[in-house]
Each structure stands twice: as structure tokens, then as C-alpha cells.
């Protein structure tokens, strides 16, 4: 899954740790999501989308190649 989490986090000038605090997850989890190594659960994906004021499909894109 491709995502724009890093891009939006940097736009808000938040560190991974700060974003993790807002989402109530660890910095490592934020890093894993940003690098595409971990696909978040649906509730967490919605939480991220809500935090950035985006629709979920604008944030996450299904990528056939990475499956």
C-alpha cells in the first residue's frame, strides 16, 4: 500500500514521535507505515485520515506491485 503519511506529516512539521503521540501509537509504528512496511488497520487508517482532514482514499492507495 502506498500512502502520503510522510508527506502530510512533514507539511504539518511534526516529527514521527509527535504524530505517534497524536495517533496513540509508537514512533516505530509511524515509521513502518510511512515506509510502507506495515499497512495500518482500518480504524488506524481512518484515524490518520481524520487527523490530516483527508479522505482515506486520498491518503492510501492500493499498490498491486507491493503485494
Amino acid at each position: 500500500m502506498k500512502n502520503r503519511v510522510r508527506e502530510l506529516r512533514e507539511k504539518h512539521a511534526w516529527s514521527q514521535g509527535e504524530l505517534g503521540e497524536r495517533l496513540e501509537v509508537s514512533r516505530q509504528t509511524v515509521n513502518a507505515i510511512e515506509t510502507g512496511k506495515y499497512d495500518p488497520s482500518l480504524p488506524l487508517a481512518f484515524k490518520i485520515a481524520k487527523l490530516f482532514g483527508q479522505r482515506i482514499e486520498a491518503l492510501f492507495e492500493y499498490d498491486e506491485e507491493t503485494r
Partner: protein
Amino acid sequence: MVRLSRQAHQRRVMVAMAIYVAVFLWVWPLARSADALWLKSTYALAPVPPVVYVIWLMARRVLGGDELEQRTHLIGLGVAAGAVSVYGIVSGFLAAAHVFGADWSAAALVWIFPLLVVVYASARAYAARRYGGGACDEGMPTAVRFLYVAGLLTVAAAYIYWHKGDAESAGFAAGMAAGMLGGALFFALRQRLRRPDE
């Protein structure tokens, strides 16, 4: 449930381990000379509370983790359960066939929990690395943790050697201490090579 920081978690585990070693060395041997059954049982089970405390800390850590952390814990516990099952069935068959002595069977049971912890920690670290290598790299460096265990085992080996004269047990503890020291050197060197600018 209040989430403990990794440092606080590690500190508590280390204190519990030190208490476990102390109780195992100074209290548990009294079980062999105690006459009353209740006293014998109390001495024999004295090392159990620190172990139960560590299990409770582990459960607390898992329950307080986020979804990715819980996934890596689950992978670690799954691999550890598999390893302990294989160990259990192998040692069970060997014991049932009287391949080794009766003392060996009891010792095999005592090693179940340490085996579970080591395999769980290794598998979890491996799983965490697959997700970016971050989930296990906070808190106390791995080299320091290995050094701590090496120190505990050295104390145990020295105590057994000078107070009981049991060369075989002392040698076993000293050998494990040397292994842990080797592990500490390996992880210290690896960390140094990974971050040459620090």
C-alpha cells in the same frame, strides 16, 4: 492500563531477574534440608514469584502496545510456543525412556521459561526489524542487557564454586556468562559499526 516506558519495563525485569538469582542461590537450596513439608515447599517455590512478576510485566507490555507492537509480540510468542513445544516433547520422550538421570528431567523443566523468553525476544526482535528495525531498539542497548545477564551469571558461578564446591554447576554458569559476554561484545561491536559517526 498505564503503559510502561521500555526503560521502566527493562529496569523492572532486571530487578526481578536479580531477585530470582539471589533467591535461587540462597533460599531454594534450603528446601533440600528442610524437614516439614510446608517449609520444603515454600523454599522450593521461592523463585516462582519473581518469574510470575516478569510474566505479568510481559502481559502488561503486550496489552499496552499499539497494533504493530502487538503483532510483533504475537509473532514472538508464536515462535516461542513452537520452540518450547518441540523442547517439551523432545525432553519428555528422552525422560520417559530414561536416557538421562532423574535430575536431568527436573532441570529440563526449569529451563522451559528461560527458553521461552530467549526465543520470544529473538523472534520479536527479528519481526520488528522486518517492519523497519525500530520496535526493539529503544531503551537499554542490547549489549548492556547481555552484560547484565553475564554479570548475574558470573556472581552465580562464583557463589556456587566457593560455597558449594559444585564444579560442574559452577562451570555451566561460568560458560553461560562467557557466552553472554561474547554476545555483549558482538552487539556492542555491531552498534559501533552501524553508527561510525557517533
